[in-house]
């Protein structure tokens, strides 16, 4: 694995599988009474979030803590960034604490890559603008693989606001890398021109949604929209809402959260057993543990110190 995880492009299929397998072993640990392993004891992980986030930040924090790392979580609003400090200076300051990893969420594409140039720490991209969200894609593949097995030949439709979605971009790359066939569908105003270059097909409406094995519904990010991409939420829901009438019983339903109930998804499908939404959240912790472990301990310490050895079994 590379030194950082900035993009799904940093991983080939084998690299993805190694992380997922590692995540599987951490899932076993989670079933034990003591859910902590000492893999990163004495090392520091900085979570630097320049955007509001509940699940990603809490998931990274929990992942680092379960690996016994010291965790510092910084939110932009409460930091010196609010006083006008540049990203470069913020990173220089944090790097002085010699962190093993910096996890960064930024509203701007390429921020994680810049940070990687400015620090010796391993950098994990926890979402950069509308560009990528690689750990989300990894946890999506993990959850889906748990449900369906290998993804070769599986048809996955990604539905909704692709234009503003970093999740969509990372998912298209990760799903196709794992052998799935990906189709994106949504209002033509929310499908970026040239998206086919990522290796997906484009459908303008949901008429052929029944062909999908998996329906991955995106959040309609009306908070990111400064102009009207769709005439109304009502019209959007009429055309693109995934509900019991559109979703067949054998199809798997996914969503990165948080859900706009009654907009992109109806309540009946959210709460149905075919929904994988809760499993996605749960997988987030294991997958982020695996990513941190692979970046910080995997290559070198991995053999000497088994990841799944419970803390209680290690004499201090």
């Amino acid at each position: 694995m590379t030194r950082h995880l900035l993009s799904i492009d940093d991983l080939d299929r084998a690299g993805i599988e190694r992380i997922l397998d590692r995540a599987g072993s951490f899932a076993e640990v989670a079933g034990r009474e003591i859910k902590k392993v000492p893999a990163l004891r004495g090392r520091t992980v900085v979570n630097l979030f320049f955007e509001a986030s509940t699940r990603t930040s809490s998931s990274f924090e929990l992942a680092a803590k379960r690996l016994s790392a010291d965790v510092v979580s910084i939110r932009a609003a409460s930091s010196s960034v609010a006083k006008g400090e540049s990203l470069k200076d913020t990173i220089a300051t944090l790097s002085a604490y010699d962190p093993a990893a910096i996890v960064i969420r930024s509203p701007h594409a390429g921020a994680a890559r810049l940070v990687a140039r400015w620090t010796d720490a391993a950098v994990v991209n926890a979402g950069d603008g509308k560009h990528e969200h690689p750990t989300q894609a990894l946890l999506d593949v993990y959850a889906l693989r748990e449900r369906l097995g290998p993804l070769d030949g599986v048809g996955i439709w990604i539905v909704g606001d692709v234009l503003h979605s970093r999740v969509a971009r990372s998912d298209i790359l990760a799903f196709t890398r794992m052998g799935a066939r990906v189709t994106v569908s949504g209002p033509p105003t929310l499908i970026p021109r040239g998206i086919e270059a990522l290796g997906c097909a484009v459908e303008p409406n949901l008429d052929r949604l029944s062909e999908a094995d998996v329906v991955y519904v995106l959040r309609l990010q009306h908070e990111r929209m400064s102009e009207a991409f769709v005439p109304s939420l009502r019209e959007y829901a009429m055309q693109y809402q995934v509900n019991a009438a559109r979703l067949a019983p054998q199809q798997v339903l996914m969503h990165p959260g948080p859900v706009n109930r009654g907009v992109e998804l109806s309540a009946d499908v959210i709460d149905s057993p075919q929904a994988l939404i809760a499993q996605q959240v749960e997988a987030g912790v294991f997958v982020r543990m695996a990513v941190l472990y692979e970046l910080l301990a995997g290559a070198s310490a991995g053999a000497a110190q088994p990841a799944v050895e419970p803390e209680a079994a290690v004499s201090a």
Binding site: H108, A109, G110, K130, H131, R193, G194
Partner: protein, 445 residues
């Protein structure tokens, strides 16, 4: 009344004998080795190689293996003065020009304050008269504060030395406003130069709209945001029989529109930058803010269309759109970085390396297009002929150099060719009869 329109500090008139240089003046018949004698800043004599001797007080330079071109003219630079001298000032910007072989540059008015009234223009011309290493001409704004709503006092600005008018950095959005400016041009003269971009189409875009922007999740600037305004404004210019110039064209649709309106007899012209001729939006995959400029780098198809248009004369000249920004301004995520790349120091070398050496364009054509900007603004075209003022670029085509390795003459380092190895190094620049730049030329004993 003759109005002075170029301003520079001047200096001691050059006294030089350039011996055995390969002289290439694409507008003459000259494409051969020759001796060139410069006396008192003028080209005094041309002779066969080895035929001329250096009179007393004349420095002889052994130029065998070097090429001598008419000095280049850049009709589009940002010297950031007044108001943004931390990016560039008149001295550093013109030093960068001289380092690139330019003997004349034309500066844009989107400064702080904007060059939209005669007092600002006058102080700028005075400052250039003290500080500029090569002659500088100034464009004034079309509208006050570049805000598109009220014409500047164009006639007074012309009397004060403005070469022409532009709201560069911004389009003149309202068609009616541009029409008025073109009508008023009948009174005051001066080319009206246009940065073409329909803001309702370019929106908050930061790069070309296409497969790469889709991959990166960056808001795109579609090519039609430029080409629809080129077509619209060429039609307005034709209707008013006005003289309009299209700045930094970037896409094939704009070329199509310009060609059609030229064929229809409109008095329109166009320029293209070295970066649009040599790079595409693929470069933006790195998310390096050096590749963020407006108009954005576009596709290979657009690049080829621009090259063809430059070759066949649809696009008249090369312009760098030299746009310096300080390091701290560019060292931020791509979306937050300001638009622009420097270009004066790399213009010729980039075109020579990427287009001449591979055989895409001839050397003579590149030199012609790098000097054609003068005539578009009514300035004399630099020539290598007896009796002409010495405006010369002495270039070693065989010399390779890494861009930025030895720093920049510009105050800024946001060059899109940074780190690349280019072929072709300007050894000596003479601008308006004065040596403006020189490096490591062996003087004869």
């Amino acid at each position: 009344m003759s109005v002075e329109r170029l301003f520079h500090a001047g200096g001691a008139p050059a006294e030089l004998l350039l011996r055995g240089v390969h002289v290439l003046d694409p507008r003459g018949d000259l494409d051969e080795p020759a001796d060139v004698l410069v006396r008192a800043g003028e080209i005094a004599e041309l002779g066969a190689p080895g035929a001329l001797a250096a009179p007393d007080g004349v420095e002889a330079i052994e130029g065998e293996g070097l090429h001598l071109f008419p000095g280049f003219v850049d009709p589009h630079v940002h010297l950031r003065t007044p108001g943004q001298e931390h990016k560039e000032n008149l001295a550093s910007g013109t030093a960068a020009a001289a380092a690139g072989g330019f003997c004349t540059v034309i500066a844009m008015p989107n400064t702080a304050p904007v060059v939209d009234d005669a007092s600002v223009l006058r102080s700028l011309c005075d400052a250039a008269g003290r500080e500029a290493r090569v002659p500088v001409g100034f464009l004034a704004a079309v509208t006050r504060g570049l805000d598109g709503s009220e014409l500047t006092e164009m006639a007074e600005l012309r009397d004060g030395g403005a070469l022409g008018f532009t709201d560069d950095g911004k389009p003149v959005v309202a068609a009616g406003m541009l029409r008025r400016a073109l009508q008023y041009q009948r009174l005051c003269g001066g080319v009206i130069s246009l940065h073409e971009e329909d803001p309702s189409l370019s929106g908050d875009g930061v790069m070309h709209e296409g497969g790469v922007s889709a991959r990166l999740g960056l808001a795109g600037i579609p090519s039609i945001s430029e080409s629809t305004f080129v077509a619209r404004d060429a039609a307005i210019a034709a209707y008013e029989d006005g003289r309009a110039h299209f700045q930094h064209l970037s896409c094939s649709e704009s070329v199509t529109a310009l060609a059609a309106w030229k064929a229809a007899g409109a008095r329109v012209s166009g320029e293209v930058t070295p970066h649009h001729l040599t790079l595409t939006d693929e470069a933006v995959r790195s998310l390096d803010s050096r590749f963020k400029m407006n108009p954005p780098l576009r596709t290979e198809r657009d690049r080829q269309a621009l090259i063809d248009a430059l070759r066949d004369g649809t696009i008249d000249c090369v312009a760098t759109d030299h746009a310096p920004h300080a390091r701290h301004e560019k060292e931020v995520p791509f979306e937050q970085a300001p638009m622009g790349t420097t270009g004066l120091e790399t213009s010729f070398a980039a075109l020579h390396t990427e287009l001449v050496l591979p055989g895409v364009l001839s050397l003579a054509l590149v030199v012609e297009r790098m000097t054609a900007g003068a005539a578009l603004y009514g300035l004399p075209t630099p020539r290598i002929a007896v009796g002409e003022p010495a405006n010369l670029a002495l270039v070693d085509l065989d010399a390779s150099w890494e861009v930025g390795a030895a720093g920049y003459a510009s105050r800024s380092e946001n060059c899109c060719f940074h780190g690349r190895t280019l072929h072709g190094l300007v050894r000596l620049t003479v601008a308006a009869g004065v040596v403006a730049h020189r490096v490591a030329v062996e003087a004869l004993a």
